[in-house]
């Protein structure tokens, strides 16, 4: 097995200060290997986007602050890297794709210029060559008539085309790792599948690792090799996609699975939602954060916070209960 491209250890991110301090990400650890797709799953506010931003130290500071942990990229701790060296990694060796294709391209510049920018920025090519390459990349992400479209402004692109352009931009420098933060949330379903397949194929071509942040379990099942389930800023279960789907071990994961509509269920049958609300991050319980909504909750869950423990191999969960019954 290859050594991991990225290894995150005990990452913690806080927002605000004093009494209003909120720990958005707490003790998160995971790793990704070359060619692997890791999905980080969770509902809104579970800390998945903040985790993604903190990998490249893009958490807005203040109010945010990465307060603990290590982010090892090929063994180098990004949290200790100088501003100049992290800049040389951003977009060059680790690229990011954002969730809103509508606003993640600059409206004042042509698409081609923006795709060429990282190439020129990291000193790989001159402007003229970078622009030539931008045209090839647009073709590669299957935008028809790339030669003409390269001179178009973002407002002349549809949502799906813009996300393709973002992918072209992310792939420009052939990064070792691509972080895609809900890349298809704003797109309609048919376009979603196209974009994700494209992303998956292109990363396979370059053997890049892909971190896919999503709340869509359908996406996870189809594209991820490994999965991290996050709840209230913590990883509650992680393992291979196979482990998570065939043998979910955390009550929250079980709840998520049960709440997916299925084609083979009887018509008129109601979905099973997870009762209650996600917790307020500013006032987390002392014990397990999922305890108030958990149907397996025990007295111990209120007192102690369960740690991530191996369930055999690379399948981990943070729960005391026996959920197999």
């Amino acid at each position: 097995m290859h050594s991991p491209v990225l290894e995150v250890k005990n990452l913690a991110v806080e927002f605000g200060s004093g009494a209003g301090r909120v720990r958005a990400v707490d003790d998160v650890s995971f790793d990704v290997r070359p060619g692997e797709t890791l999905a980080i799953v969770g509902e809104s506010g579970s800390g998945k986007s903040v985790t993604a931003l903190s990998l490249l130290r893009l958490v807005p500071t203040p109010p945010g602050r990465i307060c603990a942990g290590e982010i090892l990229f090929h063994g180098e701790d990004l949290l200790k890297a100088s501003e100049a060296s992290i800049r040389s990694i951003r977009g060059n060796r680790i690229a990011m794709i954002f969730q809103e294709p509508m606003s993640s391209l600059n409206p004042a510049l042509t698409v081609g210029l923006q795709i060429a920018e990282p190439l020129q920025l990291h000193g790989k090519l001159t402007w003229a060559k970078a622009f030539e390459r931008a045209r090839e990349l647009l073709g590669k992400v299957r935008i028809p008539d790339a030669a003409r479209r390269v001179n178009a402004h973002p407002h002349q692109f549809s949502g799906g085309m813009r996300q393709r352009a973002m992918i072209a931009m992310a792939l420009a420098c052939k990064p070792n790792l691509i972080i895609a933060d809900e890349p298809t949330t704003a797109l309609d379903v048919t376009v979603q599948a196209q974009i994700l397949s494209l992303l998956k194929n292109l990363t396979k071509e370059t053997n890049a690792a892909l971190i896919l942040i999503t709340h869509d379990l359908g996406v996870v099942a189809r594209y991820a090799d490994r999965v991290c389930v996050m709840y209230a800023g913590r990883v509650v279960e992680s393992g291979s996609a196979q482990d998570i789907y065939a043998n979910p071990q955390h009550p929250y994961t079980l709840g998520l699975m049960a709440s997916i509509p299925r084609l083979d269920q009887e018509a008129g049958q109601r979905l099973t939602p997870i009762d209650g609300q996600p917790p307020d991050l500013a006032a987390l319980p002392k014990g397990c954060a999922f305890e108030p909504r958990c149907r397996f909750a025990m007295a111990r869950c209120r007192r102690e916070r369960p740690a991530l423990e191996s369930q055999g191999g690379r399948h981990y969960r943070a729960c005391f209960a026996d959920v197999s019954c």
Binding site: R87, S88, I89, P107, H155
Partner: protein
């Protein structure tokens, strides 16, 4: 175009044709703005070539022709010293255009630098800078102008510097506001995630997107500065006589001899009105045409 970026050679359209196309659009889509541009250019031309165009010198006194009404010999009449008002208006255009452009240009540069940097960096830095701007803005403009000019002495350079700084610092608020709203856009974070430096983000990604208010700021400032200079000359603190400025002409002979020779006040007054109006409508048209969302559409 104002937002000319270092486009790679491969895609660069021939610059001449792009400019011509832009002028074509100006006339087709914004006829009023085009009229403004033409009026402004006419005044600019008059100002630049005043030496050739003016039939008389601006200080050429002819006692027998005192207070003559407009005629073919003296297009705008003559003043109380027998100087040709038309020639003086032409020379006045020269001074007004210099002051208007330089001071408004300086003001815009100051506004953009303070506003973009302060707005983008934000946090404590922004707080400190903005409190200093507040302090500066709490002085009434005219008082600062009068104090500085009376200390340094009247002249072209002090007026340009003082007006430029004064308006620039106040105007930085507008640019700061625009910058803050642009900064929150996803593409700024996206650019950061590509490894761009702060400097690059400011110049390539923020500045082009705040160009609309910058253009408006500049064109309204041109009018304002020309008026402010007239105000100063009116108070006797402008460019010292006998150099002709429109404000000075209005206040000096224009006011004293308003009843005997209304043309003395009318001519410079109309010049002033036309130039200020022209820059404003031209600025509006420019802003609309340079809007990136409208660019690239046919």
């Amino acid at each position: 175009m104002t937002i000319a970026l270092d486009r790679p050679a491969a895609s660069r359209p021939r610059r001449g044709s792009a400019t011509m196309k832009f002028i074509g659009r100006l006339f087709r889509e914004k006829p009023l703005g085009a009229a403004g541009a033409v009026i402004f250019l006419v005044f600019l031309f008059c100002g630049l070539f005043a030496d050739v165009l003016a039939p008389y010198g601006y200080n050429q006194i002819s006692p027998i022709n005192r207070l003559k009404p407009p005629s073919w010999q003296f297009l705008f009449g003559t003043d109380n010293l027998g100087r040709d008002v038309f020639s003086r208006c032409l020379y006045g255009a020269q001074l007004s255009v210099i002051i208007g452009f330089c001071a408004a240009g300086l003001a815009t540069i100051v506004s953009v630098v303070i506003g973009v940097v302060s707005g983008y960096i934000g946090g404590r830095f922004d707080m400190i800078v903005q409190r200093m701007v507040d302090a500066w803005m709490s002085f009434p403009d005219l008082i600062v102008l009068i104090v500085v000019v009376s200390v340094v002495g009247p002249g072209l350079l002090p007026i340009i510097l003082v007006l430029g700084l004064l308006l620039g610092i106040g105007g930085s608020r507008i640019i700061r506001g625009a910058t803050i709203s642009v900064r929150e856009n996803m593409y700024v974070t996206a650019t950061q995630s590509m490894g761009a430096s702060t400097f690059r983000i400011l110049f390539r990604h923020i500045l082009p997107n705040v160009m609309a208010p910058v253009i408006i700021l500049f064109t309204t400032r041109v009018g304002f500065v020309i008026l402010a200079e007239s105000g100063l000359s009116f108070l006797g603190l402008g460019v010292p006589p006998p150099a002709p400025t429109w404000g000075g002409m209005l206040s000096g002979s224009g006011r004293t001899y308003m009843l005997q020779g209304p043309w003395l006040a009318l001519a410079p007054g109309l010049c002033l009105t036309f130039v200020v109006y022209a820059t404003n409508v031209f600025g509006d048209a420019l802003r609309d045409l340079l809007d990136p969302r409208m660019r690239g559409t046919r």
